[in-house]
Amino acid sequence: MDQLVIQDLHVSIDEQEIIRGLSLTVPKGEVHAIMGPNGSGKSTLAKVLAGHPDYTVTSGSVTMDGENILETEPDERARKGLFLAFQYPSEIPGVTIANFLRAAVQARMPEGEELEATDYYAQLYKKMDLLGMDRSFTSRSVNEGFSGGEKKRNEILQMAMLEPKYAVLDETDSGLDIDALKIVAQGVNSLRGPALGVLLITHYQRLLNYIVPDHVHVMVKGRIELSGGKDLALQLEEKGYDWVREDIVEPALTS
């Protein structure tokens, strides 16, 4: 029951099919990495899971702990425990991180219950300390004028505060230099545990040196074509995506 299950998912945008029968299961407590070349549909998968309105699910299902989430609004899914760390987080001018997160935490409280400011800040500062973040960070507008690294750390901070059941990390390493990458990876690792399932989407293997996955899946043209242990990532790094395309996908098609 405690797992995120994607079954035979088909997704289109403007009548063009991008995800073509994808199935994947992420149990709580595990970290699954999806790797794939550009245009394989990785980022589409992340957005579809979060309910982005630009994409149309034509068939298939996505269940979270047994509950179908495809029919729910993006905010409802989020409140049920699905978190997406964006590849390109939006800037929200004038809204401080503290106020933004407060509104997000408040939205998860039962109706009529008010979030105590002192409890909230205690929690926020605890998480920031855990991630080694300066407190002045919270008074800045969400993502406005942030460096690539700051944006990604902000995503991780939000993930820490909102305590999701499942987190989808979309190209979290993009725009990060090696130092920033280490910091972000450390943040993700500190949140790993039996109560969290992670779906890590990445183009490069290097992120997986710092966030070591339990399983690696290779996505090509809208489908998972190959799954394996963490060593698969190294194999990919060495042989490139063409190896999957030529040696695995195509023989399968012709045989």
């Binding site: 979060a50 309910g51 982005h52 309105p53 609004e73 993006p74 905010d75 989020a78 409140r79 978190f83 997406l84 964006f86 987080p89 939006s90 800037e91 929200i92 001018p93 004038g94 809204v95 106020n99 933004f100 997160l101 509104a103 997000a104 939205a107 998860r108 507008s141 939000q158 909102l162």
Partner: protein, 469 residues
């Protein structure tokens, strides 16, 4: 995602109620010299006021509608269908106990808690066109501050009143200032003696509560040398089916070194024409600051101004306009520099939702041979949903080598991606929208006194709830 909204009809629970009309004085519908005489008779105007009204009426008739530059929607006003004077027939009240029960209920619905009233320095609340409630905190009176209705002001303090009345905004300034001058009733008269700094803001809440009833209050505030005052004006109006006209005139005089801050939070119902003339006169080293927040109404035309006639005078207009579906907020500022080293600052933020339209009009005038005058103007517009519209029409004149003006404007919108991002964090679309909008106006809202900024945020949230879905 950001869905287009066609039937925005916000439930303003706070402003959607009316009480039986039990007015003892009613000038009837339409405007003529007879109406003016009637008003003067009922109000027992001194002769000079009666004459002032009659002259203003002639000016009103001679002035064309400003439709050559302003919205054609003005033509929808039928002056003959408007009630120009209505009075509860009651005298201004001194104590809360004397206020009629239905009026008290109105205040309750407006959300002014009784404790807060005690906290206020004085409340000049206007119910229909007469001041029915007026309570000046003892301490303010002891300082020599005069805070009365304008009708009492012109009778009891003619020596101060006449000196400035109609001097900042001449009758013929525009068609609506002429109209106000002809039929004005209600409004405040405040005089702060030299050096007196009024600690707590003075407040006046008022409401319109009669169908087809135009409200023409007239406010005159004088801060003598070195005096300081903050005045707050807030209004909500009940909803009616036919157009209502609100046309006020507010004149401020800041003598040498004085400071006046005038704060308005307005939330008119969607059928009100709100055509207001507001201007301040700042003498040497004096400061006039307008903080103006416009929500609601069918059409608002309001351009608070400051004439800086003394050296080092300072003028400031900070305005927020929110144009919901079917509304047009046509607001801005006028800064007239008439002395050396005067500085002015205009910050305007507008939000257009649905078919709402926000227009900024500004005038900055720096005549020649003035030295070291500065103006800074910033206007930013935020668009939400397709069909909304925003316009900016500033006019800036500068002469001479000693002066600098700077005008900047930008237009942006709440993007679908931004809303999705926030929804992914668990906020509903409406919450996300409201958070974005509050973020946009946040730096300005901070300039409002606490209780107003809370009310303002609540009003914005109310508007946002109706704007999505």
């Amino acid at each position: 995602m950001v869905k287009q909204n066609t039937t925005l009809d916000i439930e303003r629970n706070l402003g959607n109620f009316a009480y039986p009309e039990t007015h003892t004085h009613d000038a009837g519908i339409g405007l003529s010299e007879k109406t003016i005489h009637y008003i003067s008779d009922v109000k027992q105007d001194p002769d000079w006021v009666r004459e002032f009204r009659l002259n203003a009426y002639k000016t009103f008739l001679s002035k064309p509608m400003p439709t050559h530059w302003a919205s054609k929607d003005l033509e929808a006003i039928v002056f003959d269908n408007i009630r120009y004077y209505l009075s509860g027939g009651t005298q201004a009240k001194r104590t809360w106990e004397e206020v009629p029960d239905d009026v008290k209920r109105t205040f309750e619905r407006l959300g002014i808690p009784e404790q807060e009233r005690k906290f206020l320095a004085g409340v000049e609340a206007q119910f229909d066109s007469e001041a029915v409630y007026s309570n000046i905190k003892k301490a303010v009176g002891e300082q020599g501050v005069i805070f009365v209705g304008s009708a009492d002001g012109l009778k009891e303090h003619p020596e101060i009143f006449r000196k400035w009345f109609g001097k900042v905004i001449p009758t013929g300034d525009n068609k609506f200032s002429a109209l106000n001058s002809a039929v004005f009733s209600g409004g405040s008269f405040i005089y702060v003696p030299p050096g007196v700094k009024v600690k707590h803001p003075l407040q006046a809440y008022f409401r319109i509560n009669a169908e087809n009833f135009g409200q023409f209050e007239r406010t005159l505030i004088i801060c003598d040398e070195g005096a300081e005052l903050t005045y707050m004006e807030g209004c909500t109006a009940p909803k009616f089916n036919t157009a209502t006209l609100h046309s006020a005139v507010v004149e401020l005089v800041a003598l040498k070194g004085a400071k006046i801050q005038y704060i308005t939070v307005q939330n008119w119902s969607n059928n009100v024409f709100n055509l207001v003339t507001k201007r301040g006169l700042a003498h040497e080293e004096a400061e006039v600051k307008w903080i103006d927040c416009n929500i609601g109404s069918r059409l608002t035309m309001k351009y608070p101004g400051v004439v800086m006639k003394g050296r080092k005078a300072r003028g400031e207009v900070i305005s927020i306009a929110l144009a919901g579906d079917g509304q047009h907020q046509d607001t801005g500022a006028k800064m007239v520099h008439a002395a050396d080293e005067t500085t002015s600052n205009i910050i305007s933020k507008s939000i257009s939702i649905g078919t709402g339209r926000a227009t900024y009009r500004g005038l900055v005038h720096v005549p020649k041979h003035l030295k070291n005058c500065k103006n800074n103007t910033e206007c930013d517009a935020l668009l939400i949903n397709a069909n909304s519209r925003t316009d900016t029409y500033p006019a800036i004149t500068v002469r001479g080598t000693g002066n600098a003006v700077q005008h900047e404007a930008s237009v942006s919108q709440v993007s679908a991606e931004q809303i999705f991002y926030m929804q992914q964090r668990g906020l509903t679309e409406a919450q996300a929208m409201s958070l974005s909008v509050n973020g946009f106006v946040n730096d300005l809202v901070r300039q409002f006194p606490m209780e107003y900024s809370v009310e303002l945020k609540r009003l914005i949230e109310l508007e946002m709830e109706g704007s999505v879905g």
